[in-house]
Amino acid sequence: MMSHRDFRAELKQEEALRAARGMPASARHAVRLRLRGTLQPRARWAIPRWIWVGAFTTAMVALVLGRVLLPREALGGFQLVSASRDLTTRQHAEDLELEKGQATLVDAESGITVRNQGPLVLRHESGGLRIVRGGAELSVTPRPKGSAPAVVRVSDGVIEVLGTHFTVQQWEGGGTVTLHEGSIRFVPARGGAEVRLHPGQSLKWPLPEEPVVPGPMPPINEPPASAPLSHGPRPSRAKPAGEPKTPRLSAEEFLREVDVLRSRKDFEAAARLLEEGLRTQPPAMRELLSFELGSLLTHQLRDPRRACAHWARHERQFVRGRYEAEVSQAQAALDCPRGGREP
C-alpha cells in the first residue's frame, strides 16, 4: 500500500518557514510607498461631495452669466455681435476698416447696429458713428419720444435717426442713403434745408447747389406727388441772405480737411480749423461744427477746461439745439460747472 506524505503537517512547516522569513525589506518598502501614493490623494478627495457639486454648479452659472452679461468682443469702439469666419479688419487711427467678410457691429452709446455690405470704413464718434467709405445696412432701436436722435455722419451731412432701418453707401465725394422703414432726416453739412425721407426713398449726395430760396432737397427716386418729402425748411436753418455764398473752403472740403487732421491724430490742428470754421462757414453748419469741436476737446484732446468753456458757449449760442442731450451728457461726464458759466 502506497504511503502518502502528510499534506497538513508539511504545509504548516513551510508556512512557518515563510513566516520566519517574513516580508522582504524591499517589498515592505515598496508597498509602503505605494500605499502613500494611493492614500494621500484619497485624503484630498475626502472633501464632501456637496462641496464639489456646489463648486461645479457655481462654475456653470458663472459661465452662463459670463456669456450673457460680460461685454461682447470690442472692435474699434464697437461691440462685435457676429462675424463671418473670413472677416478681416484693420484699424487706422480712429477708423475701423472691414476689408473682407461679414460683421454685425453695435455702437452701444447710440444703439446703432451696423452690418457691412462689402468693404466698409467707419468710425465711432460721440453720439453716433461716421460712415467714412463703403456700404452698410443700419438699424436703430426705436427711441422714446423726446430723446435725442441717433446720428450717422456721412461726407455731406448728418443723418438723424429715431428708430429705423436704412442703407448707406459712401464713396469718394458722394453717397446715397435708402430708407427701408421708419423715418430719417438728412441735415446737409453745408447748410440748407433738411430732407426727411420716408420708407422706399433714397437720397444722393453731394446735393445739388442750394437754391437762393431754401427748400427741401429732392430724393433720387421721387415719391408720388402726395408723399411729403420733408417738413419744409426751418427758418433757423435757412441761409441768411447776407451770408457769403462761397466760403474760402467749401463745406465738403472743410469737413474733409478736418477728417484728414483727425485721422492723423493732429487734434489740435483739427480744433483750430473747427474754430476757424465757426467764423467762416455758413451759420447753418455752425451748430454741427461747434458740436464737433466740443467732442474733439472732450474725447480726443481730453481738455476739461477748454471743453467746459466751449460747451457753455455752445449752450448759449444754440439754445435748445439739435445736440442738446449730447452736450448735457458731455458736461456731466466732465463735471462742468452748471448754469452755463465758463470755468
Binding site: 504545509l11 508597498v31 492614500l39
Partner: protein, 178 residues
Amino acid sequence: MSPGPPEGAVSFEALYDAHADQVFVWAMRYARGRRSWAEDLTHDVFVKAWEHRAWLREEDVRGWLFRVTQNLAFTALRRESTLAGRLQSAVDSLLRPETPSTPEELLARRQTVDSATSALDRLPPQERVVMALCTMDDLSQREIAQLLSLSEGYVSKLLSRARARLLSWGWGVDDVAP
C-alpha cells in the same frame, strides 16, 4: 502617511509595521511564487484597512486583516481563472516577468518544487483557498463558508475535489472537520 486616524482607532503606521509581515505571508500562500502578486494583495488589504480605520480596534485587528486577506485572495484568484483574467495575467507576466531577484529567493523557489506548497499551488484557485484554510488554519467547513460567504455544501465539494487531487499526487489529507 496620511492624516491621523480618529480617536480610539489604530494608528495606520503602527498597523502597517505590526501586520505587514503577516499579511504578506498569508498572501504568499496563494501567490504561486509571484512576489509582486503578494505585494499587490498586501497593498489592497491595507487600503481596505485605511477605508475602515474608524472601526478598527487593536484587539481585533489581526482577525479582521486575516478575513480581508482571505476574501481578497479568493476574489483575485477567481478573477484570474476567467478568460479575461488569464489574458491579464499573460500581459502582466510579459510586462513584469517573475524572476527571483535574489539568490535566496531562487533557492527558496527550488526548494518548493516538490513541496506541499507547490502541490497547493497546482490546485484550482478556489480549491486552493479552502484547502489552505482547512489545513493551515484548521478552520471547519462552516467557518470557511462563513469567512468566504459560500454555502457549506460548496465548500465541502471544493474540499473533496482538492483532497482527491492531492491524494492522486501522493499527499494524504486527514478528514476535514465539519
